[in-house]
């Protein structure tokens, strides 16, 4: 397999992982905010 497909794979995987990380962090903060406000 050519190295170039590894480059694309790494790029897509990294974006996906970073996006998931941000989504999880956002959910954690929103939940924490709701608990703080007694929601």
């Amino acid at each position: 397999m050519s190295y170039v497909w590894a480059a694309y794979g790494v790029t897509f995987a990294a974006f996906a992982l970073y996006g998931v990380h941000l989504a999880r962090e956002r959910r954690r903060l929103v939940r924490s905010d709701a608990e703080q406000n007694g929601g």
Binding site: V4, A6, A7, V10, Y18, R26, Q36
Partner: protein, 249 residues
């Protein structure tokens, strides 16, 4: 990134009760449409890359052209936005700009890291080795270190106004490496190993669409990830302010 601990003030108390700022509201509105756009652009991008003709000289490895330069542009965009937001922060002293600068720098580092990974992948296939102390590669490595240091500074500092001002000046000075990185190839001429800057007519037949899609993909991905990052930074800021208020109560 860092937890916020600042001396409490009436302004801070108002900040805690205030709604998200304009930048954060805009980021929240962008989240879904940019995510949908990203899904569509990704599908077209993948198709265009697979369908693109194979270069007669370099073979399929030449398709790195459709991902590596766009990642570089994304990194530069992040650092330029961080510098602009930093300048606005120094001028207006509105913390929204400081949070935007931090978010843009982090997304820029993500793109630059990927650029630093995809470049050596091409180099291994073409030059036979992963790295060379070529001028462009060396300045890019320096650029990456500069903004990694920016993120580390923000992580390990107390998050006060002094840190924000120092970080703002740092981000503005750091961005000067981008024009240097662009012109270093012109300066070194044929002594540079890295391919020359792209110009009109550089691309071979059939390469225009995948290259355009690569840039569009990276732009939409950048916007989407930046919007998410801005939202997170805003939420972290308000959580930190609330904690500071509770601790002082």
């Amino acid at each position: 990134m860092t937890e916020i601990s600042r001396p409490l003030s009436p302004e801070l108390a108002d900040d805690a009760a205030a709604a998200p700022g304009a930048l954060e509201r805009g980021a929240a509105r962008l989240r879904t449409p940019s995510g949908v756009a990203l899904a569509v652009v990704t599908a077209v991008y993948v198709w265009s890359v697979v369908a693109a003709p194979v270069d007669a000289t370099q073979g399929v490895i030449a398709k790195i052209l459709f991902v590596h330069p766009p990642l570089a542009f994304g990194g530069y965009l992040g650092f330029v936005l961080a510098a602009v937001a930093s300048a606005l922060y120094l001028w207006r002293r509105d913390e929204q700009y400081d949070r935007f600068a931090l978010s843009a720098a982090e997304v820029g580092v993500v793109f630059t890291t990927l650029m630093m990974i995809t470049g050596p992948i091409w180099a291994k296939g073409t030059w036979g080795r992963w790295w060379s102390w070529d001028p462009r590669l060396t300045v890019t490595l320096l650029l990456w270190f500069v903004y990694l240091a920016y993120l580390l500074l923000r992580s390990f500092s107390d998050g006060g106004e002094r840190t924000a001002r120092f970080a703002a000046v740092y981000a503005i000075v750091g961005v000067l490496l981008i024009p240097l990185n662009y012109w270093v190839i012109e300066l070194f001429g044929s002594r540079a190993m890295h391919p020359e800057n792209l110009e009109r007519g550089s691309l071979g037949e059939g390469m225009g669409l995948p290259f355009l899609m690569g840039n569009l993909f990276c732009l939409v991905a950048f916007v989407h990830l930046l919007a998410r990052r801005i939202e997170v930074e805003g939420l972290r800021h308000r959580a930190g302010v609330r904690r500071a208020l509770e601790d002082s109560a």
